[in-house]
Symmetry: C2
Subunit: 146 residues, 2 copies
DNA sequence: TTATTTATTAAAGTTAACTTTAAGTCAAGG
DNA sequence: CCTTGACTTAAAGTTAACTTTAATAAATAA
């Protein structure tokens, strides 16, 4: 199945301008052309899915291009490509861990505002209650007056 | 306890230039000054911790400033601040979910390159093996030739 | 055939979040 | 007192990842 750029945009969720930008940056090698107009195949759409994965997990475009270029060089580059994927996988694991840490900070704030709203004032809050009520340790509260 | 900007930088992990930038952007209200020089208190450092949490979970600086400004307006703004925190908390949950989805794509790639390296070539890979070996569904592979 | 829509390019513009620079001020050690 | 290092500001510069513009060409509908 073949697609125009606007169909590819539809299918991938990327605007046509971004697809052209990625093409120009070398992220989409071997896109076919018919009278100068890009013709996308399913393989291209699947590649864009991988690009989106790498991009949305924080890989810079330069590095994505490196990966794509290695891919087109064939089996000689398997090890190098594997290292890139492994590193990115670990990077995602680290990000999840960090987000889970930040989530705890926000959980505390959620508790804090629930308490404050129930009492009508922040000044009524006893931070020790957080550990008593949730079993979790309260993170440092910016509003605490030392 | 009081700190200079470089001590605050040390403690928060933010460079002094960034702390000054945040101050200028209104993210650090009421920083004390002594002869024009900033004097940071523990409360300020804890606020910076919250800023880092909000920033690193994707909140734009403008919105962080809104939140900080509401905070300094007192109990009248509790509900509004709570909405911001609730939304950010949900945003973090969504991010974690998305990262877990992308992780599956990278898990597949990890499997793929292990197989390819063992066989010495990508062409030897049978994608059906992924589901057989891991019980997980293989995501679309960009290298598949339809 | 003509009009409209969709495609193309190169180049310039945008945005967020800093960072660097330059010129000057303050504080501490010798 | 003088030098050295840390602090100050405003303003300009940087970077990544796009987006917009303008001018043009190809495809599609009437």
């Amino acid at each position: 199945m073949s697609y125009t750029i606007s169909e590819a945009a539809q299918k991938t969720g990327l605007p046509p301008s971004t697809i052209r930008f990625y093409d120009k940056e070398g992220l989409l090698p071997n896109i076919k052309r018919k009278n100068g107009i890009r013709v996308f195949e399913d393989m291209d759409l699947r590649l864009m899915g991988l690009l989106t994965c790498l991009k949305n997990t924080g890989m810079p475009i330069k590095r994505i291009r490196d990966y794509v270029e290695l891919t087109s060089k064939g089996d000689d580059t398997l090890q190098e490509r594997y290292e890139i994927i492994k590193a990115q996988r670990q990077f995602v694991l680290d990000q999840i861990e960090q987000l889970q840490y930040y989530l705890e900070e926000l959980d505390f704030k959620d508790w804090y505002y629930n308490k404050a709203l129930a009492a009508g004032s922040e000044s009524a809050i006893n931070l020790d209650d957080y550990e008593k009520e949730t079993g979790k340790k309260a993170p440092d509260d910016p509003n605490r007056r030392d």
